[in-house]
Symmetry: C2
Amino acid sequence: MNVTVVELGPRDGLQNEPTPVSVADRLAFARALGRAGLTRIEAGAFVHPSRVPQMASSDEVCAALVAEPDLVARHVRFSALVPNLRGLERAIAAGLREVAVFPAASETFSHRNLNQSVDEALASARAVCVSAQGSGVRVRGYVSTAFGCPYEGQVPVTAVLRVCEALLAMGVFEIAISDTIGVAHPGQVRALIRELRAALPVTVLAMHFHDTRGTALANVLAALDAGIATFDACAGGLGGCPFAPGATGNLATEDLLYMLHGLGLAREIDLAAVVAASARLEPAIGHPLPSRYYRASQVR
Amino acid sequence: MNVTVVELGPRDGLQNEPTPVSVADRLAFARALGRAGLTRIEAGAFVHPSRVPQMASSDEVCAALVAEPDLVARHVRFSALVPNLRGLERAIAAGLREVAVFPAASETFSHRNLNQSVDEALASARAVCVSAQGSGVRVRGYVSTAFGCPYEGQVPVTAVLRVCEALLAMGVFEIAISDTIGVAHPGQVRALIRELRAALPVTVLAMHFHDTRGTALANVLAALDAGIATFDACAGGLGGCPFAPGATGNLATEDLLYMLHGLGLAREIDLAAVVAASARLEPAIGHPLPSRYYRASQVR
């Protein structure tokens, strides 16, 4: 089995950290992750900097990364979130050949987070897809709140499936089924994948877990057993301090790699080099990184 | 499937916390865990208080717990570690009907931690078993360092199996295969259980994981799938602060229960009541409890 790790630390991770990180530190972090052997890295978000100051200057960050000769030689694919056509234009201008759209499965979350209904968000995503494909740019689709919504609680499988089918119809190459608030557990993962596999090709599915309740790695194991081969993660477990309000840290790349390596998977990615990338970033984010493996590695 | 959670917070948890906790707080903690529906609780260790000051007054703690009318009515079974016959005498004097012995699979760890060879530790355990059974006291056996040793690294399956067979021969009712340093991953868990099942009845096996590298819940999932039905855990993830040197926190009872409940298992244990027990204890241990579920539950 060939497993792909999609590194989201420079985007989903830093975007959800309270302290904005300098362009130089973001660049150094993403470069180090690429050199560690991660071949897919989400490096920015083309959203308005007044809403998400952590992602300001994504243009500069992405443009520098795609021009980095050794990362080009390694075939590292950089991507960024784009909410609309204006975002897509900026992504293309920065030299990206891959972007991501992010509709939600839950109506209330979509309204509160994107200020759009699910159908409106899908229409925006469709416009991005059409234009991107015209420019030869690949599009990934996230399905937010696929395992639970902070406002609605449980999200019906039919709602997840509807967004997945709409994304596939607009030509995304991959769908990341996302546990935005970190409530998923293996029983739910197995049940949802069973339903999705009945309607969609399993190879198009990726899983995006947060470790809010400690279940992320167990969810990955359940998903691996169900045939999923692509997993999102953030170096250091960025995206939520375990001791801060609203803690919703992403699955840590280090923890994921430790488990995958033990299963004989993803051995081409250098775990020690990912730890080093996190260690170099840690002082800039103002709190200890929550990754368990990372913390154990820092004990002398 | 009927899953049993063995609560070790008052023993393995507090024993490995830097700050000793008062008898009153230890009693309140163990009582609250019993009232939460945990029916097996390790509450003390009859070792010398100069070596393990955290477990001083285990006599007083255990004697008070076994006399607690509502815990008696709930059939809560209390236990304690006993290294030798002197410890067993103290446990019996405190009114316990269950104790635990703890040989290691690794020779170097056994020498450094118990000051005995593996064979010497097994002889001590055998003496405890013979005497305990004469008094109608059940004995549990731990196999320390079953997944890895801090001095020797990987521990051969044959070494684990040898200790398991010796423990079974001396009449222990259960063997807790213990990942003392938190290195186990699901690939190793599957492989070890496969080997153990070929030689031992699976119903005698329990799994004891530490979450040092974030894999504990994934290990539980792998073990459940392999037919294991008994798991050790510590409320709050006690036993190692993630930000302290030597961090080796136990699998948190809260994280375990959240996953088990999602799988429809162990529903008779009240997760909110376990969280409340941890919350009441937290100020006494001097650092934030590392359980992910616990931390998420404390966010307002």
